[in-house]
């Protein structure tokens, strides 16, 4: 066990930092906020921590904390401004936000090191520290997936108007999501930077959005567990199969496209579905309702919702 860990410490570390980044994008998706601001927050957190650590002699943990808080604060402000935008528009605005962070870093002069970034920011962070922080974040997210909180978040995502009609303050959920996503993204950036000792503007780009999406889409966007599955797959696959390392981007592209088409719930969604079906088959038919109500038995009539619920039926035209 110990020998395995020593041999794989770097990959374990990469899995954990990738997971943190992915979680900062997954949380908003789960609330139905199509935000990629987590990537920009990764940059803000990473740069802040690196600058404080290398230029102002701030210790590792205060630097991480300040980077995290600054990213969270800025992301919350962003949310205040744009939380009312819908779908794609919000997505593009947050991509623009993330790319502006990169442009600002490129033009930051000696403070941010320009296009070559910051070097030598090797803080005193161990894998155990990362694991503890990750456990903290995951615990918080797990609470938000459980019980009434989880149900309300699902409703805010699936049907905001219904959520409001049930008394849920949709706007507040959306704004707080920006805060939480910014904190997680900032933490991911600060920790990753002080672990690797370097950050460059080129890292905070579209590629990072793709990596985070790959993790979430493969694993499943409904739970932190999905992100964990995804993070493990994409960090370990290249080490196990060497041809994967060569063709990494192409394979990820295929996986993301395939998952978007066939597995919107990811691996986790598939597993949940199978478990539900298996249970449904084991469950005896629902206790027989009184005779007069016989017509209400599920499946007693061809279910019209199924036809209603495919977009293709309204968009399929007269073909």
């Amino acid at each position: 066990m110990m020998a395995w860990y020593t041999a794989n410490a770097v990959v374990v570390q990469a899995t954990m930092t990738t997971l943190l980044l992915a979680l900062s994008i997954q949380l908003p998706l789960r609330v139905g906020v199509f935000s990629f601001a987590g990537v920009g927050c990764f940059g803000i957190g990473g740069y802040t921590a690196a600058i404080l650590y290398t230029k102002f002699d701030v210790d590792t943990w205060p630097a991480v904390a300040l980077g995290t808080l600054l990213a969270g604060g800025l992301c919350y402000l962003l949310g205040l401004i744009i939380h009312k935008l819908s779908g794609l528009y919000l997505g593009m605005a947050t991509i623009a936000f993330s790319l502006i962070v990169a442009v600002a870093a490129t033009n930051g002069g000696s403070l941010t090191g320009g296009a070559s970034g910051i070097f030598g920011a090797l803080g005193g962070i161990t894998n155990l520290h990362v694991l503890l922080l990750l456990a903290l974040v995951v615990a918080g997210l797990a609470i938000s997936e459980y019980g009434r909180f989880g149900r309300m978040i699902d409703t805010v995502r699936e049907d905001p108007e219904l959520a409001a009609a049930l008394g849920i303050n949709v706007g507040r959920y959306r704004k707080l999501t920006f805060l939480a996503s910014g904190l997680i993204g900032g933490l991911a950036g600060a920790v990753t930077t002080l672990l690797r000792s370097t950050i460059t503007p080129a890292e905070v780009n579209f590629h990072m959005v793709v990596v985070a999406l790959t993790v979430i889409i493969i694993g499943g966007s409904s739970s932190w567990l999905g992100a964990l599955i995804g993070a493990i797959v994409i960090t370990w696959l290249p080490t196990v199969l060497s041809f994967v390392a060569d063709w990494e981007s192409i394979i990820y592209g295929f996986l993301v496209a395939l998952a978007a088409i066939f597995l919107p719930g990811g691996v986790l969604g598939l597993a949940k579905d199978l478990i539900h079906r298996w249970r449904a088959r084991r469950r005896p038919t629902p206790p027989a309702p009184p005779a007069s109500e016989a017509e209400k038995i599920p499946g007693g009539e061809p279910s019209s919702p199924a036809t209603e619920r495919s977009l293709a039926s309204t968009q399929g035209g007269t073909s």
């Binding site: 409703t155 009609a165 008394g167 303050n169 919702p305």
Partner: protein
């Protein structure tokens, strides 16, 4: 229970709309409605498609911005409320097309009615669970607790939605075409359920196309056309009114009236 037409002697109005209008650009979906809902009664809204019924429901729940007018619930003007505050005042609704969380089972869908209206904590959770179970028993979907909505028949999906609204324990329940797509027997069950809720004092506003059901269930009817109120009063009289027949029923006679 007699259906008295004696407005002045009626109990207090739980809800009052005064000169409510909703215009979308040039379209006057709702145009100057003034009416009240007496406490503990079932009031039906009748009108052809596009006459503004669903827009009115949206206005009452504050999903649709008002062009002018005031809305009062329990004597308080709430027209400035954001939509999510309305359920906290005691107004619950169902939707014209059933809206459920497809990934959650029936019990959880009904629990959603209690989630944001009860505080956290163990006692509240138990209370919510009880309310949800009662609501499911009343609407006859208690045996479906663990089933997912996508495995349900259309009528049962409707029941789950009504159960969710009842679990909110509202003072005013808005039902937007609750029996659409149901058979006669199922419609009668919904009708019976509404009458038993009225017996407990729940005020209900129902939008429905089935005239017969409306006449059988409602205490009074409001007939709308082109966003305006054309007639209101005792159901049989409203249905017999020539203006209503003209607008809603065309030349067809109403056999049951």
């Amino acid at each position: 229970m007699s259906r008295s037409q004696n407005d002045s002697a009626d109990p207090r109005m739980i809800f009052e709309a005064d000169d409510v209008a909703v215009h979308f650009g040039g379209v006057k979906a709702v145009d100057g409605l003034t009416f009240g809902l007496p406490e503990g009664k079932i009031i039906g809204i009748l009108g052809p498609n596009g006459s503004g019924k669903s827009t009115l429901v949206g206005a009452i729940t504050r999903h649709v911005p008002l062009t002018r007018g005031t809305l009062k619930f329990l004597g308080k003007d709430y027209a400035g409320d954001e939509p999510h505050l309305v359920p906290h005042r005691g107004i619950a609704r169902t939707f014209q097309t059933v809206r459920l969380l497809e990934e959650r089972n029936v019990l959880e869908n009904v629990l959603l009615g209690t989630d944001s209206l009860t505080a956290g904590g163990r006692a509240a959770r138990r209370l919510g669970q009880e309310r949800a179970e009662q609501a499911m028993a009343r609407t006859g979907c208690d045996h479906l607790a663990k089933v997912r909505p996508d495995e349900l028949s259309y009528g049962n999906r409707r029941r789950v939605e009504i159960a969710r609204a009842i679990a909110m324990e509202p003072k005013l329940l808005l039902l937007d075409e609750p029996t659409a797509g149901m058979g006669r027997a199922e419609k009668e069950e919904i009708s019976t359920l509404m009458l038993s809720l009225r017996a407990e004092g729940l005020t209900q506003l129902i939008v429905e196309h089935d005239v017969q059901m409306m006449v059988d269930t409602c205490d009074s009817l409001l007939a709308m056309n082109f966003g305006k109120l054309i007639v209101e009063g005792e159901p049989r009289e409203v249905v017999r009114n020539p203006a209503v027949q003209e607008a809603y029923l065309g030349k067809q006679a109403v056999k049951h009236a």
